[in-house]
């Protein structure tokens, strides 16, 4: 049994590094993934600058408000590509070869999710620096650490969903369409772009069931350096979200036919 656990750990680690090597060989994609969030930050931030002058707006500057939202958005976009790379492996028969080898399905899934989370962590690191340069402010060291934790949980959760969808749909086109269809509403039905108080009641209600909301709230708390009960609650919800998605992904792998 302990053999199995050792294998689980070493297999996961080994596959993780394999995927990392693949990303390392095509590093441009990691940077391309940053372009869209940066555009949002710059253009959307400018476009809605006047927003922050409204009474009841929580922060003095809209860019400052938007930065956590854009960070979460990067996670969403990055994670939704995870499934596409799974389809690449399936198409090349690489996945089939993995599945007939004596490796646990959970090892395969976990290494994929961790790899995706790692790429997103790098992206978020760069994004935090860039947004600090354009006036979003810099989180404290402790804040930065917790941002990464939040991002890790979100990335694991959403890339698990993306992988599960890929395993289910088995084709790239519908997966990309599904990804696009899901990511934008998830953003709009959260407090990423506007404060929750500004939303109509029904949208507020929906946003309470949206993991993105908790991600954004948690990242905002990190920026403000306020680690009180709402932060820990958000974090708890994200842990549950990541765990449930992970298990769901393993299940789709196990019954994959």
């Amino acid at each position: 049994m302990s053999d199995l656990i050792l294998h689980f750990i070493s297999d996961t680690r080994y596959l993780f590094f394999k995927y990392l090597k693949l990303t390392w060989r095509m590093p441009m994609w990691t940077f391309f993934g940053l372009i869209q969030p940066l555009l949002w930050l710059l253009i959307f931030g400018q476009l809605f600058r006047g927003f922050a002058e409204l009474p009841q707006f929580p922060t003095g500057d809209y860019t400052q408000f938007l930065a956590p939202g854009v960070i979460v958005m990067t996670v969403l976009f990055g994670a939704s590509w995870s499934g596409v790379s799974l389809l690449r492996d399936l198409r090349h028969g690489v996945m089939e070869k993995l599945l007939v080898s004596p490796i646990l399905r959970s090892s395969i899934v976990l290494s994929r999710l961790l790899h995706n989370a790692f790429t997103v962590l790098v992206q978020v690191f760069l994004l935090v620096i860039v947004s600090a340069l354009i006036g979003a402010g810099m989180p404290s060291g402790q804040g930065f650490f917790w941002i990464w934790v939040v991002v890790l949980l979100l990335a694991v959760g959403f890339s698990a969903i993306s992988n599960a969808l890929a395993m289910f749909l088995k084709e790239e086109e519908p997966l990309v369409v599904m990804g696009n269809m899901l990511t934008l509403p998830l953003l709009f039905f959260s407090s990423a772009l506007v404060p929750a108080d500004f939303m109509p009641a029904w949208m507020q209600l929906i946003s309470r069931f949206n993991p993105v909301t908790y991600g954004v709230e948690a990242v905002r708390a990190c920026y403000e350096g306020v680690f009180l009960q709402p932060f820990w609650m958000s974090l708890g919800i994200l842990v549950v979200f990541a765990g449930v998605s992970f298990i769901a992904a393993i299940m789709t792998f196990q019954r994959a036919e």
Binding site: G93, L98, V100, L169, E257
Partner: protein, 493 residues
Amino acid sequence: MIKIDHLIKEFDGGVRAVDDISLHVQAGEVFGFLGPNGAGKTTTIKILTTLLHPTSGTVRIAGHDVSQDPLAVRMSFGYVGQQSGVDPAFTVSENMLLQGRLYHLPKKKIEERMEALLSLFDMSERSGQWVGSLSGGLKRRLDIATALIHEPKLLFLDEPTIGLDPKSRADLWAYLRRLNQEGMTLFLTTHHLDEVDQLANRVGILDSGRIRVIGTPDELKDSLGEDTIHLTFDRAVDTAMLEVFRKKEWFKEVIQEGLSLRLYLENGQTYLPKVMQWLEALGLTAKSVLLARPTFDDVYLKYTGKNWLLAGESSEDEWGGKNNKWAKKWKKSDDSDTGGDEEWKKWGDQAQGSWSEEKDTPEKLESNPAEVASEAASESNQSDASGTGQEEPWKKWGDQAQGDWSAEKKSVEKSKVTPSEEVPESTQPDETKKTVESNDAENVPDEPWKKWQGQGDANWSSEDKSSEDKPKGESDASSQWPSDESSDKNWKE
């Protein structure tokens, strides 16, 4: 090595892809699973390799039960799937290392094995090369080499020569034979009749999820007699007449197929003139007559009652249920061989057309070379479907003719010995060649066979041209090279 007992696999929606298969494969055997797309070959192999769970029945691989101890089963075999299975973004040696790690081998062991395997497959000098830049044939070789990294005693190959050109196919067969000589048990699926003929010690013919017959290739073919005479008539022979044929002591087997009759007998050369006289005595005029060796096509026809090329028509989709998407996708892109029923149907229709209306055949032959060219061109532009998938039936024969000289030699010789007894017809691999071979004979007037031709005469007059246009082995092969290159491009991405 492999023990399958009453294996059944039902997909969602009650489709039975595998219907009560029992089969034992001994160590050291090469077992070939033969059947059209959708016969259940891939489903079976996926159950054997623990990729699918059986609905019922037991499967033991090297002593381990696939359902109870999948991890032990996975250690005991190597698997070469329909897709390449090697990662194009890594080098040859990286792929081998990765595969070794997946089987938890120590690094030193992996390096030893890698060296041995690469030299076995003549790829030592390529260890630093990107897999994406390898040709289809090399990629397949590497695929097999990686599958053997953990020294399994059993190797599963699911349509291993899919999408390979004739040369690479022949090479691959040589490597597989060598592996078998070293004691490896091989279990392969294919829908190429010549492939099992070349490789397998034993063959199981699978159709609609059931095993129709198991035997050695020679047993199966000998069960039909040494030779076969194909007769085509203007009208289908009625049942009463069929009985007359069946009762005739010369024939071991008589199979009717549309307008044609296939007569299986010993020593066909001696009997052919007698048969012709006998036909005349019966008042029948055959439009075309052909003497050939029975092929697996005949074997398949005998055991399934279906023509090989038409066989896909009634079969179910291998992937079953909602996974049909796979089939659809592959039809569009990579391996059209794995495509679903529809394509078979299409070829089937065409094949049927050419068989049931014999008159069309010469014209069809005539127009084919142009199609070869345009098809090759379009293939190289669009996709790498170079397997039988998108080939027209005749192209496959050309292909077969190339890869299978030894098997065919006999019948070609035969046609040389008795050219006057031959009237070419285009339903068989052999025939296409013979059309070319016996061309000279045709220009000689007053050959006795002319009178057998009956009304078919007018149609066959276009024959000369067609046999000139019809590419021989080489041009058929050359039409497939571009598709191979394009497959490289595709993989490279």
